[in-house]
Symmetry: C2
Subunit: 396 residues, 2 copies
């Protein structure tokens, strides 16, 4: 069923332009544009990035977003997406879309699923209806969605499972990856594998090595950023990356705070997604050149500064912290809209600076700067990421 | 304390360009622009029109909005507004602002106030704090806010009070209007009186006549659109208007469905405000050339049309009913954002058509058309306005 020519007949969709240490500045070509990496993808679970119209997404600088095949297949259902001719038309977004397969929902919706080697059964918490998701069905769904980047169905276990369970999930992930590859994607769609391995470095390496030999367009580090200490995230991500092919894009799933990004870029990661900036916004917090600010705090009541005096976004050019504090205080949704807009704008400027720092060889300076900004306010690197771990689950 | 020259020394701020029957096409000059009337003002109670950034308000065609002096004075408090140099800067809005005085909150927050001839005491339902609002204080507050149009403090009773109570509220409203006039506004601010009179035509006429003799820049019809049948609204508004000076703008407070507007324009009203289009939007309903549509209804699940095939707004150019139905179904706030944008765009195009119909002498045709569009779907004119009466309190 695959429309794809074999990989040796296909030109690579990924090109590395420049390196600093292990960090790479690259270009990834998709059906909806060529994107510079390292790149950040905002999360649009239900076929929308919360509180952002698609024209505003463009305006802040988003070029590719993540959506969730499982969620969209349940509601509104594939027949609705098919009528629109795909997810892009449905959500009026002509940039890139990466769709996650449903593997992560096996983690995040754990009370509502049963896993076997054949596939995973989800029971809807809304109406009790069942969906039996197999690797093949996941490919077919993402083919219908018309995603630019298709993720294999993986088995993502909690980070604290023992060796046997981690091994089992990894084995299943590999079998499923091969079934996905066999089922194939549409011409032009890119197919990414997901390396698992739990909290065990040897499994992480083995998983990456195993998948590397298959014909995937890119490779993801899965099953991390799930609550573990940041040092552990880095160590396990590094174990994975060290066995991945150099010439393919590497995607770290579900992590996207500035600190997470800069540290993982330094070990050779190219792509990130996270609800971090958008969820922070809905909780009244802003990402700024001074670090993370809780605009709800009473000290901002009379603060006439913009959210970030070094930011030139629409929100910072027009509104004061005092105004946004007032909106938060009154429970006005406009606060979340303005903060989401700003936080995403901040993230895309941040990614521009990351790419420039690779080009200019100043990544180390930028790492130190980011660590300082966040440490000053958050105590330790682990604290910095507390929300990323606990609050901001990847895309549940 | 008034900075205003006496009225005979001031050029009029209102000019009537053209008439059809009793309807008037006019121009109203304020500190923040000259506005064509009949005009619709969206409601921004807490210093924001819900779910709309100020740049989007501009984009849909808003030129003047209503905000609430009482609400804003309580939160964030006048000292915060003063620091910003006024409400315009605070909310990043350089169009016009009309502020209501707090009189309506005597109606809508009835469990939390005590009225005497001296003024009204509001007790905050949040923290029990008290605000003693007098006509003088209301003027001082609106002076600080820097509103383009300042409303006098009135006593707005429920529509079903008896004659004695209505008379008493009307008398008090008159006394307060004179105290407001004496206290005065800032140079360039316009001061509007509010005619009351309950459900009694003779009181309505007397109130309008009494206030007409005073030096106000405009006159409002207050205390209507509070749940009474539409025929009664029209009759009482007509009684008021028939005694108002021809050469001043007339503002109907708190009514703003298309049907309300077209019928009241026909008896000579120039200005409207209502939460109708924005509140409808947050409840999943759209205003269209086919009438009001409840986009939540399952019949829109696979409907690939725009909200309104005759609308060229950003939302109708990009999104389908099916997509917005999906967002509503998933409880995504983006649905309310898109519907608010569209409904306001619809209202401003509607007002343009109203003004054109006065210019072209086709107001009668437009009245019939509006009655048909809404009757078809809503049964009777009273039904059409059900939400306007019951759900959409003026600006509570």
């Amino acid at each position: 069923m695959s429309d794809r020519p074999p990989s040796n007949a296909r030109p690579s969709n990924f090109e590395i332009v420049c390196r600093t240490g292990c960090a790479r500045l690259g270009r990834l070509k998709t059906l909806h544009g060529t994107f510079e990496t390292p790149i950040f993808m905002p999360v649009g679970t239900n076929a929308n990035v919360k509180l952002m119209r698609s024209d505003d997404l463009k305006r802040v600088g988003a070029s590719i977003i993540l959506s969730n095949a499982y969620h969209v297949a349940v509601r509104p259902g594939l027949e609705v997406i098919e009528l629109h001719g795909g997810l892009h038309n449905f959500m009026a977004w002509d940039g890139g879309i990466l769709t996650d397969s449903g593997g992560f929902q096996m983690f995040s919706l754990k009370n509502f699923r049963k896993v076997s080697d054949e596939g995973v059964t989800f029971v809807s918490p809304y109406d009790g209806s069942k969906l039996f998701l197999t690797p093949e069905l996941s490919m077919d769904i993402q083919r219908t969605l018309g995603s630019d980047i298709v993720m294999v169905l993986d088995h993502c276990p909690p980070i604290d499972v023992g060796y046997t369970e981690a091994l089992d999930a990894t084995r299943r992930t590999h079998e499923w990856a091969e079934r996905c590859l066999k089922r194939g994607v549409k011409e032009g769609q890119l197919l990414f594998a997901i390396a698992q391995g739990g909290a065990f470095e040897d499994l992480r390496r083995a998983s990456a090595r195993y998948l590397s030999e298959k014909d995937f367009d890119g490779f993801a580090v899965g099953g991390l950023s799930l609550g573990e200490p940041f040092e552990m995230t880095l160590r396990l991500a590094h174990a994975t990356v060290s066995e991945l092919p150099d010439d393919r894009p590497r995607y770290f799933m579900g992590g996207g705070s500035p600190r997470t990004i800069i540290e993982l870029v330094a070990i050779g990661i190219d792509m990130f997604d996270s609800v971090y900036p958008t969820r922070l916004a809905r909780h009244g917090a802003a990402l700024t050149s001074e670090g993370r600010l809780n605009i709800k705090a009473s000290r901002y009541r009379k603060d006439l500064s913009p959210i970030d005096h070094r930011c030139d976004c629409l929100v910072c050019r027009n509104y004061t912290r005092s105004y946004i504090h007032h909106l938060l205080n009154r429970g006005e949704t406009l606060a979340g809209m303005l903060l989401t807009y700003h936080n995403l704008y901040y993230m895309f400027r941040f990614m521009e600076r990351v790419r420039e720092s690779i080009l200019n060889g100043t990544l180390e300076e930028m790492r130190r700067e980011v660590a300082e900004i966040y440490e000053e306010r958050r105590g330790s690197p682990v604290d910095v990421l507390a929300l990323d771990y606990n609050g901001a689950r990847r895309h549940s």
